[in-house]
Symmetry: C2
Subunit: 367 residues, 2 copies
Amino acid sequence: MHPALHVVYRVRSDARSIADRARAIAVEQSVEMPVSAIVDARVLADIVGRVEGIDELDSGLFEVRIALAAETAGDDPGQLINMLFGNSSLHDDVVLHDVDLPPGLVATFAGPRHGLDGLRRRVGAGRRALTCSALKPQGLPASELAELAARFARGGVDYIKDDHGLADQGYARFAARAQAVAAALHRIEDRTGRTVRYVPSVSGDLDDLRRQVAVAIDAGIDAVLIAPMIAGLSNVWRLVRENPDVAFIAHPTMAGAARIAPHLLFGKLFRLVGADGLVFPNHGGRFGYSPETCRLIARTALGEWHGLRQSVPVPAGGMTRDRVSEMLDFYGADVMLLIGGALLSAGDGLVEATAAFVAEVKGHAYG
Amino acid sequence: MHPALHVVYRVRSDARSIADRARAIAVEQSVEMPVSAIVDARVLADIVGRVEGIDELDSGLFEVRIALAAETAGDDPGQLINMLFGNSSLHDDVVLHDVDLPPGLVATFAGPRHGLDGLRRRVGAGRRALTCSALKPQGLPASELAELAARFARGGVDYIKDDHGLADQGYARFAARAQAVAAALHRIEDRTGRTVRYVPSVSGDLDDLRRQVAVAIDAGIDAVLIAPMIAGLSNVWRLVRENPDVAFIAHPTMAGAARIAPHLLFGKLFRLVGADGLVFPNHGGRFGYSPETCRLIARTALGEWHGLRQSVPVPAGGMTRDRVSEMLDFYGADVMLLIGGALLSAGDGLVEATAAFVAEVKGHAYG
């Protein structure tokens, strides 16, 4: 079997059953039929998944390493996730924990086109953390979202993203919103010389996504937010290839909590198909990720992996200004800090609150 | 708030915290920001999610009913699932259990174009259970898959689907496979007068999916297998609208085990975007669904719901011939029985094993 996907699963089992369970996963994720009924020698030699190792991590919890034939994934990221975890996602004793891919497959997908360095360059930032805020609530008309964006921009934030709930709804159509916000930000840039980037959320089927990206480009926008688990990894990869000048920030909506390890899903799979930035729930906010999980997501996104560009980690989800210093100590400078609701809560003081957030990030002395 | 999505979540919580937790879900799935910071009266009145009821189902387990504004979902099924469960999928204390949608939204999506009746008509079946088998293992060349299909057809099965692992891999390209299998089945039909349908698996981004559906139609095929959680609900709906003569069978790969109730995901959401058939893991096979879950999936798929056509339940996953009678007693005649590996295991006796399976289904006396 060469080349192979080397997949790591974590499986709850008793010690007596784990060898059988591991073999069953290897079959489920490859030929999905009784191996005894396979007569084709090539399929038996090259296609049937193979258990490479089993280790007990804890009482009743095992790490199972399985090799799957890379040719079963072809060169489609949807088919890749299908082979890594498709049917096993229906078994509640198994978590997809990690994968190593053959260099040729990684080179095909090619990862971020811009990554951390590109996102810094766009806003003229040196080796410092980037700042970001979010337009919400949904339900506001495009003109009010544009006004909000202008205030964030006056506060000096680097990136302004849509809330992931903003789609193409009747009350703020994508095109109207993109044009209004982009125009408002260009006025601020002209007046102040500051650089600020709008990251609108694109949604719908591939046709809708393409249309929205084209509208964004026409409005002078060069980055978009996308939800890979809703759009489909294959469609994200298609958009990335078709729009090499656009940066893509991945949103974790519908990514589930518990069945694909977040460092793998975000830090490897989303990065693989071209996510330049990765929004994920920071520890201690509204979501339940642990500090260890968050650290591992960031390390994976930034770590050396077959020469891919780094995806910038964007820890978020109920972050506040009083956590800036702690977060920068935790993540270092290779991060984008995203504070949304807490800045919006400043009401009339939004510009000042944003400016204070930005100043704290820029002035932080890394420990 | 009118019209509304009436959403039911099941939440693990202690009694003291559940009211706050329910409000937090209502906010997370709508405006995703502190409600106190919202000044727009229309957003407060029409867009912020609203807790409609909380019931304790069991100690520490609550049913929470929340109304979300239907306009936040627009008319895109990806955005619908985003609003129903997107960020909450990242919280491991909550399961998306059920939803009722406004009639106008259901009419927009429109559900199956063929459904149970259409799938029966295609193979000249009266009010009886349909039969299905599966082409595998992946790794076989198109010619061998076609030969296998011919043997299933000689056994008299109604539908022959691809294993969901069959994509567009180098060893059996979609086009070569579709053409070879369709040609083999047409020869059997010409010789025997029997009707049999091939259901090839389509995969990739929307462009790939379209191309594959077009190739299938050109080869005289009128049904395809698709994985909505990998392709994206929006793209499935697009294909359904573009190909009104093609039946779509949904595969549950990547649908997860535990966080969206299967009767909702398969029986309502997949049906909503047009799945004529629904493959799901039957109880007592390789997967862990209970009889109650399976019964609820089937009832939901077949039940009256805003006038949509019925999706045919396709319980599968390690089914064997000795379960046919029990399954027909359990599901009744409104079902498609899918036996794959167990028929393939018959080796040289595949045609006879298939014929025996078909005969038992056709001859079953419903209790």
